[in-house]
Subunit: 190 residues, 4 copies
């Protein structure tokens, strides 16, 4: 009963693959559908029609891909002005380099995307550490899939890392369906 | 139908006053009750019995009061080990200095408290900018009330700033009530 | 003896005005010069020639303007690959809305820009709270100037807020001059 | 010619081991000495006597150990009131769990400690990715050493991860020595 909009940017195809895994997870939830959009093609109509927004990006110098940021500045800012996304659901996912073993700036990148969701008034769905597949690609703010070798070469997102992305999609879909029709915020019309 | 646990630390009484405003907001929601605990007295039993957790702190050198951190390290970490808070609701609020006009580190402080809620697997309730009273004490992550003058002296939390704290409490209570009985995460028992 | 590169984006002219104040501060330091570039026009040659980088942006939905992010992704990432900025100086500044009284996401925005400087290996120059003018537009990570009224309308950056921007420029210039010729990191050539 | 104060908390000894590696790095720099203090024993006199401050902590629920936070709230806040640390050097390091492969909240934890250093007016020394040993335990904000197995059991900090901690100590020592006697901020006495 909920439609989830997945907006992403991808350089080598890993974040695209991650977005498809998130969408596959959404589709496992009864009555839920996913719309995947490249960041530069997503529109305000896409966002208005969605019950939940899931943002995905590679890490670039410790923050999100500029194309995702452009979507945020131009499309989500318009939604924020109108208050149309208040009380819906949101979440994030990422891919990135493996160099250093610490996520390479993934947490601050996720928080910047989550800041947009908070500004929109969306409830934020985290990723519990008991989610199947968490040990392969989990962080409390959302899935983070290593797509580069230690030497920095892109190696793609291996299939064992996709499981937690699928669960994250399903989790957010269930949250969006639950919130649809509910009225959490006084500012929402009744 | 939901019980909200409000855990806070306070130096001069402003965060305590803010906690009471949040609790008053919770009580406006049909069937919801609030339990207020000083950080050093809150227990795992308090947390286990709660459908939502609301953390409040003053800003100290750009992060939360150490007493709130001690509660997180000792009490919430035990809840995290057992996964008992997954799928419940969470939110944050703060008070702090007015020096500089930019919140003095409130955002990073709120994010550190939200990191605990994300680790616990709680859905995070933001503060929409159309909430009544937002202009006096609002930030997208939760209410932030200035309780010091520009010269750094504590002046308390004026009443006009409390409105947005009350609404934040009511919002989180509604979210906690909605989530109670729902099953967002696969890791939650059925 | 040091050349500072100031890269910014501006919507209504406030961040441009802030950039000019930062540059004026740089020029007060003996032998230091400032080069101001709009984010979309700054090049790798500009960056290579600089002893320090100062990034400025308005806040958009809790993170930096996408044009600054595009500069980071395309220009600074190339500098990072070559390690050419290691051991130089860096800092940030911002402008933004006044709604809510808490900086509206300025801290996380500054941190995303600082993440780029950290990745580049630049020493980060903060803003001490005893800096003249801090009370008007100060945050520990750098100056933050309110350029909108409480109702969201752009009102420009008033002159009383520019003082702290000038000092921040001078501080970073002194740091860049000191670091020039020094060798802090083992990875720097000797 | 510089004295570095290293303040840490440790649960199983890994952060203590990391602190000792940082101190060993400091000692490789001509004329520099390191003082190691457990967070609960560090004093304002220790801080006043130091030319640089290096904070280390394990990750607990996505933020620093409460004992480090208590040091920040009680000792560094007193230094901040007096402005005695303005223009000195600072840096951070961490240890933490390996679960999830993304650092488990290490970035936000480091930023909370860096927020204290920024408030103090210390120049922040990052960790360039070309530092020897970075691939084993590096993050742009400082070293992060995994000290737990994927199943959460503490396994200690293996020796191959210590190299980057030593270099970070040496880097901060060189920065502290350079800054000693320099005058970056107008607010510093001359």
């Amino acid at each position: 009963m909920a439609n989830l909009l997945i907006v992403y940017a991808s350089d080598y195809g890993s974040t695209k693959k991650a977005a498809e895994a998130v969408a596959a997870g959404v589709a496992t939830v009864n009555g839920c559908t996913a719309t995947i959009r490249e960041a530069e093609k997503a529109t305000l109509d896409d966002l208005s029609a969605a019950d939940g927004l899931i943002l995905g990006s590679p890490t670039h110098m410790g923050s999100m891909d500029w194309r995702v940021k452009k979507f945020i500045d131009t499309v989500t800012a318009a939604a924020w002005m109108k208050g149309i996304f208040i009380g819906r659901a949101g979440g994030v996912f990422m891919t990135g380099g493996g160099y250093g073993g610490s996520g390479g700036g993934c947490e601050l990148t996720m928080l910047a995307m989550l800041n947009d969701l908070a500004e929109l008034g969306a409830l934020i769905v985290p990723l519990p550490n008991s989610t199947p597949g968490y040990a392969k690609a989990g962080l409390q703010w959302g899935p983070y899939g290593r797509s580069h070798a230690e030497d920095g070469k892109p190696i793609g997102l291996s299939d064992d890392k996709l499981e937690v992305f699928r669960h994250h999609g399903a989790n957010i879909a269930r949250a969006a369906a639950l919130l649809k029709g509910a009225r959490i915020f006084q500012t929402q019309g009744g």
